[in-house]
């Protein structure tokens, strides 16, 4: 059984960009095309929703309502970020269903997502509480300790996403390795849990943690 936790190399010219980056570009392209298609389709949306419009409105309203209950007043800015990151993580994990290694099993990508959340936490904190108000948070009970807790946020979020998706992938690899030539219907049923359900839960968790950290920063 071949298994590596570092992603494969992929050369463009002389530069090794890594296979996960190329797959992530593919996922981005698909999502952008879908977004443009929805934008074009939304021109003939009516006041009373029907068909596809129903589904889209349900999704948008759910994420807006959810961010409103979590962060309160700044929900309008954070809701699009949450929807984007959720769709992106879920899309990246779904790549595994067609046999390509998911980009979320690369620690650099999950760390990049974690740093995005870190940026949002600090941006919202600085905007909502002012420069010195936010700095005051860093020295409040004991100096330096809050800085360490804040630095741990992107690392823990990155490790959580990476570890969960990689664990699902390794379990699936083990099942395929154990069943050998009899791997017919059983991996499909297990994949529903390890690839589909796990990815959906992780995308939801990433959004929830982003929202709760932001609400902690602005209160």
């Amino acid at each position: 059984m071949e298994l590596e936790i570092t992603p494969e190399a992929f050369y463009i010219g002389d530069v090794n960009v890594g296979q996960s980056v190329v797959v992530a570009w593919g996922v981005m392209a698909v999502l952008i095309v879908l977004a443009i298609a929805v934008k074009i389709k939304s021109r003939n949306f009516t006041e009373v929703p029907k068909g596809l419009q129903n589904l889209l409105e349900l999704g948008v309203e759910t994420i807006q309502k959810y961010s409103k209950t979590e962060v309160g007043s700044v929900w309008e800015e954070i809701a699009p970020y949450c929807a984007t990151i959720g769709l992106y993580i879920f899309g990246c994990c779904m790549v595994e269903l067609i046999g390509i290694r998911a980009p979320t099993t690369d620690l650099s990508m999950t760390l990049a997502l974690g740093l995005g959340t870190f940026f949002w936490i600090n941006y919202m904190g600085f905007r909502k509480k002012g420069f010195f108000g936010r700095l005051g948070h860093y020295v409040k009970p004991i100096p330096i300790i809050p800085i360490l807790t804040d630095v741990a946020v992107p690392i823990s979020m990155a490790c959580r996403l990476y570890g969960n998706i990689l664990a699902g992938m390794i379990v699936m690899e083990l099942i395929y390795g154990a069943l050998q030539y009899f791997a017919v219907a059983i991996p499909a049923a297990l994949s529903l849990y390890f690839n589909f359900f796990d990815s959906a839960i992780q995308a939801y968790i990433f959004i929830t943690l982003t929202l709760s950290y932001v609400s902690e920063a602005i209160e």
Partner: protein, 74 residues
Amino acid sequence: METGLLAIGAGLAVLTGMGAGISMGIATGKSVEAVARQPEAAGNIRSTMMLGMVLAESTAIYGFVVALIIIFLM
């Protein structure tokens, strides 16, 4: 010799899963109690339990990542 010690280390790192399993069981049990007592608050209880379980689970994930690093990168 050295490979055997690495394997023991990886196994010890994965033992973090024990604590995570116990804590997730406690969280689920308590939330079942809460839902039985107050069925109308089931939605709130479920989302709070989900968040707590994920935070408890992350310790197991850290152990798992450490074990992977020991196995593959050392």
